[in-house]
């Protein structure tokens, strides 16, 4: 009886579907990526943050054209002039250097460090996480112990220790924040791999004789991308802040380089008479990091709407 009823309703559904759908029409299910993009488009805060970041990136790339002055050229007669002074829309620092020009040039460095360090950390972290999670055994144990050790340090302290070892400088600061980020990505990917490798589609790929590398790159990695994209977006903000922090401590970019952390550090001596010298570069870091966090949150909600709370 039951099977008759089921068969009957299935036939009815088929019949009604046939009526409604034109046989010549191709129905393509929307891919999860497209669905996520559509959800992201409906998030005004994330979209605004995205547009802001694109504008900042453009302004930084076009710094040589847009910057009104040379970012390191000093004009002592204009030292510490406030924002709004003719020729100095955002004022000048203690050596009369135009803050707007330094901000634009500094954006290049901060964005490069942020994205570059995330890319480096992600590349190594993903590789390590994939191998450890997929092959397991002694390799996994070794990787996990190394991760435990790296994570036994507060992140910024580890970055400071690495710069102390390599010597101060922008490149070393970037390397340091990238190294600090590696265990973070390795853990995310390893966790995803551990659950994915037991899934049926991975078993199926293994059964038809696909080699390990192919399974990892074609079947497992694409399924780890969601959490990775979200983590990376949020991480760019942290890396920008950490690298600026190292420069602020005198361990990253060195004066007279126009870098936001260096500008903030130098402006600190003049907070009594000319607070704008330190307020402006700090505000730039803050706004970029805020935009990255908004975009990261939006991406997370778009990629996994269940997390939206």
């Amino acid at each position: 009886m039951a099977s008759e009823r089921v068969d009957g309703s299935v036939t009815a559904i088929r019949a009604s579907t046939k009526q409604r759908i034109d046989p010549g029409m191709h129905i393509r299910p929307r891919s999860p990526a497209r669905q996520a993009l559509q959800r992201l488009r409906r998030d005004p805060a994330a979209m605004a943050a995205g547009v802001f970041l694109v504008l900042v990136a453009l302004a930084s790339v076009l710094a040589p054209v847009l910057a009104p002055r040379d970012p390191v050229q000093t004009h002592l007669e204009h030292r510490l002039v406030p924002p709004g002074t003719p020729g100095y829309p955002l004022g000048a620092d203690d050596l009369g250097r135009d803050i707007l020009s330094r901000l634009l040039w500094g954006g290049r460095i901060s964005l490069l460090v942020g994205f570059g360090a995330v890319l480096a950390a992600m590349s190594v972290g993903v590789l390590v996480g994939l191998l450890a999670g997929y092959f397991g055994g002694w390799l996994d144990s070794l990787v996990m112990r190394l991760i435990d050790i790296l994570m036994a340090f507060p992140a910024i302290l580890l970055a400071i220790a690495i710069v102390a070892s390599l010597g101060p400088g922008l490149r070393n600061a970037m390397l340091a924040v990238a190294i600090v980020g590696i265990p973070y990505y390795a853990r995310i990917v390893r966790g995803s791999v551990l659950s994915l490798r037991e899934q049926e589609f991975v078993h199926a790929a293994r059964l038809i004789g696909a080699p390990g590398v192919r399974i990892l790159t074609r079947h497992i990695l694409p399924n780890c991308l969601g959490p990775l994209i979200v983590a990376a977006t949020l991480d760019v903000g942290w890396m920008i802040m950490a690298a600026a922090g190292l420069s602020f401590l005198g361990l990253g970019a060195q004066p007279p380089t126009a870098e936001w952390g260096v500008m903030l550090s130098q402006g600190r001596q003049f907070i009594r008479n000319a607070p704008h010298v330190s307020i402006i570069p700090g505000a730039a870091i803050f706004l970029v990091v805020l935009a990255l966090n908004l975009l990261g949150d939006g991406l997370r909600d778009a990629l996994d709407p269940r997390l939206r709370q």
Binding site: P154, L157, F286
Partner: protein, 315 residues
């Protein structure tokens, strides 16, 4: 619980060995010859060789590591090149100052972050909830060193109500003076942690208040206040414990930046000065002390978590 504590303590051993090895490695790789730094540019080759021999720098690295570990365990953390005094008593003294700051910041972060997170969850999607979530995002997007400078400008220079640097005024040495010096740096330090704690409390609370037992409590006719306080809160706070623990680690790290901004005589300021002066024994000791305390804080948090949530220790 005892079995869990023993397992957790045993797992600490490889981590601590790894931490000491990494700290040792970092200083081994550091540029410059410690003997040259100690004796200065005018040192002769003979005196340099003698000092290297005395310090054991002519030994293979593994011999140096085990000798160093042996000394560390015995409380001999070396002499600071720059300060010409024993490292351990100096950094312990500075670490105590840092702890004042960290503990106060953790207290501020919890006392504001947890209630704000609870209120936000209870009034989900209200104006106050949305405003709180915006503030949370602002809080953890703010560079700690910039926030410190903003607080100095506002409270120290514009309003003139709080001291902007140091630990004590030269003419006073009472507790009130100490606290007044701690307020601005601990506020700067607490903001990021507060934001994350508020966000975590909110999402944990939201999860709990949708559970069946909370619905049961409501359907029994209990007041909302009683449902939240008696039934939801305790379970919602369990994951918050872990976040608070992780934030203490963040505070120990962020502390370095805040100490530089406020010229606060803590371990972070000592460490950065040590790095810039290439005072390796001091830097090595400071990093080791902070990292070991971080490991111990994590241990304490794990044990507390296991105590609060039996599923962990039997899992």
């Amino acid at each position: 619980m005892t079995g869990y504590i023993v397992r957790r303590l045993l797992s600490l051993i490889p981590v601590l060995i790894g931490v000491t090895f990494l700290v040792f490695l970092v200083m081994q790789l550091a540029p410059g010859d410690p003997a040259q730094i100690m004796l200065g540019p005018k040192a002769t080759e003979t005196s340099l060789a003698q000092l290297r021999h005395d310090l054991g720098l002519d030994q293979p690295w593994h011999v140096q590591y085990f000798r160093w570990i042996g000394r560390v365990v015995q409380g001999n953390w070396g002499r600071s090149i720059q300060l010409k005094r024993e490292v351990l008593p100096f950094i312990l003294d500075r670490f105590r100052n840092s702890l004042y700051l960290t503990v106060l910041a953790a207290l501020i972060a919890c006392t504001i972050g947890i209630p704000v997170g609870i209120l936000s969850a209870v009034r989900q999607y209200s104006v106050s909830d949305r405003a709180t979530m915006v503030l949370v995002l602002v809080g953890f997007s703010m560079p700690i060193f910039w926030l410190g400078i903003m607080l100095q400008i506002l409270f120290g220079l514009k309003l003139g109500i709080l001291p902007v640097s140091g630990l004590q005024s030269p003419e006073r040495s009472d507790v009130l003076d100490l606290i007044s010096h701690l307020i601005l740096p601990s506020m700067a330090l607490a903001t990021g942690a507060m934001a994350i704690i508020a966000r975590m409390t909110r999402s944990s609370m939201l999860e709990v208040i949708r559970q069946d037992y909370v619905r049961t409590a409501r359907s029994k006719g209990l007041s909302e206040r009683l449902v939240i306080n008696r039934h939801a809160l305790k379970n919602a706070l369990i994951p918050v414990v872990t976040v608070v623990g992780m934030q203490v680690g963040y505070l120990l790290g962020g502390d370095v930046l805040v100490e530089i901004v406020f010229s606060y005589p803590g371990i972070g300021l000592a460490m950065i000065n040590g790095i810039l002066a290439r005072d390796f024994p001091l830097v090595q000791g400071a990093i080791l002390l902070v990292a070991s305390s971080y490991v111990l804080v994590n241990l304490a948090v794990d044990l507390l978590y296991a105590y609060l949530d039996p599923r962990i220790r039997y899992g």
